[in-house]
């Protein structure tokens, strides 16, 4: 009999306390952000898909088309092709494609590159209706940034 009433008392008390917590939360400021209207700054360390680094001095990429990134990518999503242009010593890039549908953002390609020619982009707003939209032409993205 005693337990019957004590259970009622402690139980009731715990329920009222719980209600107190939610009541307090009801009048506390919200903690979320209305995403497309407000945006939180993303950390500069964010690892998006890869991009070629633009060497501002030479106004071109650093890549020497050695193909290390292509070989070491665990998901086989990079395609690099270089060609020796006439009158130039180095090979120049003719193709640098990334199949982002398969990329696991592991960062192997960035670390393996002998010339440190790759970086992570800051793009996180990626959404599209087709698979092909995620086949990025990294070389073209670089051309666009060129001055």
């Amino acid at each position: 009999m005693k337990q019957y009433f004590s259970e009622l008392y402690t139980g009731g008390k715990s329920l009222v306390e719980g209600l107190g917590v939610t009541m307090k939360a009801l009048f506390s400021p919200i903690v979320t952000v209305q995403y497309p209207r407000e945006e939180i700054d993303i950390t500069p360390n964010y690892r998006g898909h890869i991009d070629l680094i633009l060497d501002t001095g030479k106004n071109t990429y650093l890549c020497i088309s050695c193909g290390m990134c292509e070989k070491s990518c665990p998901s086989d999503c990079i395609k690099v092709k270089g060609k020796k242009m006439e009158g130039e010593k180095k090979k120049s890039l003719v193709l640098f494609d990334l199949d982002f549908t398969k990329c696991s953002l592991c960062g192997t390609c960035v670390e393996v590159c002998p010339k440190d020619a790759l970086e992570y982009s800051q793009e996180y707003n990626l959404a599209a209706f087709t698979k092909e939209a995620f086949h990025f032409d990294i070389l073209k993205r670089l051309e666009e940034r060129r001055i």
């Binding site: 009801l26 919200i30 903690v31």
Partner: protein, 327 residues
């Protein structure tokens, strides 16, 4: 003009009242839906609906339009008649109790001298809807929901009746108007606090609200009795649920919280409705807060609670009331 004069004025009054009440039903469902989502949002430290209209105020209307516009899917192998009847069955009986509720001294469609009994009866019909819907859906989850609804309402109707009876004993009438009038000086919640608490708890169970939302318990039964419903069928259940909540809250207001009584207002016999609605929505606010705070009880615990705590307490309460009143 002639045709109208043939009709008895009483009938015209009833027709107008029904029209007002039905439109109020939809308004109430929209308001409650919005309030529930907003409160839930702020309880969880997020803003809730924000996009449609200022602070999402039109959200429920847009949702309603979407639901009406949806195809009424009837799954293969269901009992078609029952499946279609169930939403109507949940919607219709909730209109009727509103006809006898005295919103203020003069705003009442019809004062039945058995008003309270009428409301309780109509409340039980609602369970039929859940049973029919769950049975007709031919889905095991719906079936569970329906069975739970029936057992739950049997267990909870008794304490509800007993707690209401305590009030009836005190004022010797079933007419809601007279019950409110009897609270001119002191609200019954102060004379009958136990009955009030029992009624509120049992009312939560009666309306299938968390923590007693077993018939729809979504983490166990996906959506319980309305698993198979979509579009208009679903929204009728939805409106029915909110109206049911409104009725439970208004009965609590009428019986315990003094109905239209409150500080004096001009045209008191009509404007008492302000106090009435204030009290009702305060109770509804409490119900919403409860929903967003507690986990769900288990089925046998629910029944245990009803038989072990609510029924004995209300019986003892009734006994004491009877003895005190008749002395």
């Amino acid at each position: 003009m002639e045709t109208i004069s043939i009709l008895p004025p009483e009938l015209i009054r009833m027709v107008i009242a029904v029209i007002i009440i039905i439109s109020f039903l939809f308004l109430n469902a929209i308001m409650m839906g919005y309030a529930e989502r907003k409160i839930a949002g702020h309880v969880q430290r997020r803003p809730g609906p924000m996009e449609v209209g200022s602070h999402g105020i039109l959200q429920m209307i847009v949702d309603g339009v979407k639901l009406v516009g949806k195809e009424l899917l009837i799954p293969f192998n269901v009992d078609r008649t029952l499946f279609r009847v169930a939403p109507l069955l949940s919607f219709t009986p909730v209109i009727l109790p509103l006809l006898v509720i005295p919103f203020s001294e003069k705003l009442q469609a019809r004062d039945l001298n058995l008003g309270l009994i009428f409301i309780v009866t109509m409340g039980s019909v609602n369970v039929m809807a859940l049973l029919v819907g769950g049975w007709g859906s031919n889905n095991k989850y719906s079936m569970f929901g329906a069975m739970r609804a029936v057992a739950q309402s049997i267990a909870y109707e008794i304490p509800i009746l007993l707690s209401l009876l305590a009030v009836v004993l005190m004022c010797n009438t079933f007419s809601l108007k007279e019950i409110v009038a009897a609270q001119q000086n002191i609200w019954f919640v102060f004379l009958q606090p136990v009955a009030f608490l029992i009624y509120v708890v049992a009312g939560l169970a009666e309306t299938n609200r968390n923590p007693f939302d077993l018939p729809e318990a979504e983490s166990e039964l996906t959506a319980g009795f309305h698993t198979e419903y979509s579009g208009m069928g679903f929204s009728l259940f939805f409106i029915g649920e909110y109206t049911n909540m409104f009725i439970v809250a208004s009965v609590a207001t009428v019986l315990f919280l003094g109905g239209w009584h409150g500080p004096h207002l001009p045209y008191g016999e009509y404007l008492g409705v302000v106090w009435f609605f204030l009290k009702v929505y305060l109770l509804l606010f409490l119900m919403i807060m409860v929903r967003w705070t507690y986990p769900r009880v288990r089925f046998d615990q629910l029944l245990n609670f009803a038989w072990k705590y609510l029924v004995p307490f209300s019986l003892v309460n009734l006994l004491i009331t009877a003895v005190l009143v008749k002395l």
